[in-house]
Symmetry: C2
Subunit: 225 residues, 2 copies
């Protein structure tokens, strides 16, 4: 494998904390394949057995679902050096949850499950990164489910603020981007901004850059109970 | 540790595939603690740092959440030899998501994160079981999110049936229990049974023991599109 690739892989969340030399030694001792795909070529079909870890080395891929009327819904774009479906390599239902296809010319590193397990056993950093990656995904989804049970965006924002401000704190700092928050709530970014603006006008909260100041905790509490 | 405990632990999903002797050798080489709790005693508070894997050895514990009005909502009971919050030991937000307390006299095996990582590296079976456990959780949650975007129970059932019957198959077998399905849909078991009965009366489906026969695929498709 060319040295450029090791440089790129060091930036992947799965190999974070390893240097190029360490990574090269690791990869050279396991079985792997590098595959090239043409624009629009299918990389994996939804329902295919997920028996390998794939990492984008060049280009971007798109994840799509087909609904029952045959309409295609785009889920996300994944660009180099992002991993594909890492939470589906293990577990009861280890099948690709989406169709994955190439957005343009794409190069993919493919590690069979056995190679991934070998990497886990030879390198704690990779193992911990992998566990962190799927655990964070689980934590994000658990939280998202809590948000989905509330109907309006304002209720979701109220819950989010009150969770962060649990110790009777009246000023909280939002470290996530608006896009990440919108994803968590399952809404679009403009809708989120509009709802935040409305809540400011209603004197529930006040926004100061990355901070949110709670002006009326009682009314926020009522929104979600 | 007494030999009875190894026998019990072999039945835990995390140690599945290991015999008592192998398990004993593994556990004897790592640091662990066994703690006893009295009825109603708090084992972990929601928000506490989750820096250890806990496995119930005796009795049952309950996981509860407190909502913003101060009301306590029971999430689940976990009995021996179940693990507690295994998806929260790693990841960005590794804090207990719920309050955990003892239902009666309880004995808990507590393995610090370092011991868990050591076990991963010395035993592939434990590692794979752990990865399977949190990956299955992620897969369950991803699917649950898809179901939560549909409003009525009947719509959720329609989606579930059509997912299983994707290849124009008109008879599917349900391997999950009604309780597992109800959990997936986020509804109670009686509500699920009622909805299934209604759909049978409406001649959308026919239920034969564990099988569901699709009578009107077009109308099912319309319900979810």
């Amino acid at each position: 494998m060319e040295s450029d690739i090791y440089k790129l892989l060091c930036q992947s969340s799965l190999f974070f904390g390893l240097n190029e030399k360490e990574l090269k030694t690791l990869i050279e001792n396991i079985f792997y394949q590098i595959k090239k795909y043409n624009p629009e070529e299918i990389i994996a079909y939804s329902g295919d057995n997920c028996d390998r870890l794939m990492i984008v080395l060049e280009g971007t891929v798109k994840a799509e679902m087909t609904d029952f009327s045959g309409k295609t819904i785009k889920i996300e774009d994944i660009s180099a050096p992002g991993p594909l479906a890492s939470a589906f390599l293990f577990g009861q239902n280890n099948r690709f949850p989406v169709n994955i296809s190439a957005n343009g010319q794409v190069k993919i590193l493919s590690l069979p499950k056995e190679s991934v397990i070998k990497l886990f056993q030879t390198n704690t950093i990779f193992l911990t990164n992998y566990l962190n990656s799927i655990s964070s995904r689980t934590q994000f989804l658990s939280q998202k489910i809590r948000f989905l049970t509330f109907k309006t965006i304002k209720e979701k924002i109220a819950l989010y603020i009150l969770q962060l401000a649990s110790n009777n704190l009246n000023r909280i700092t939002i470290s996530s981007s608006h896009q990440d928050l919108a994803d968590l709530f399952g809404v679009t970014r403009p809708s989120l901004s509009r709802a935040l603006g409305d809540m400011e006008k209603e004197k529930l909260i006040k926004i100061e850059k990355k901070d949110i100041i709670i002006l009326d905790r009682d009314r926020l509490n009522k929104m979600i109970s």
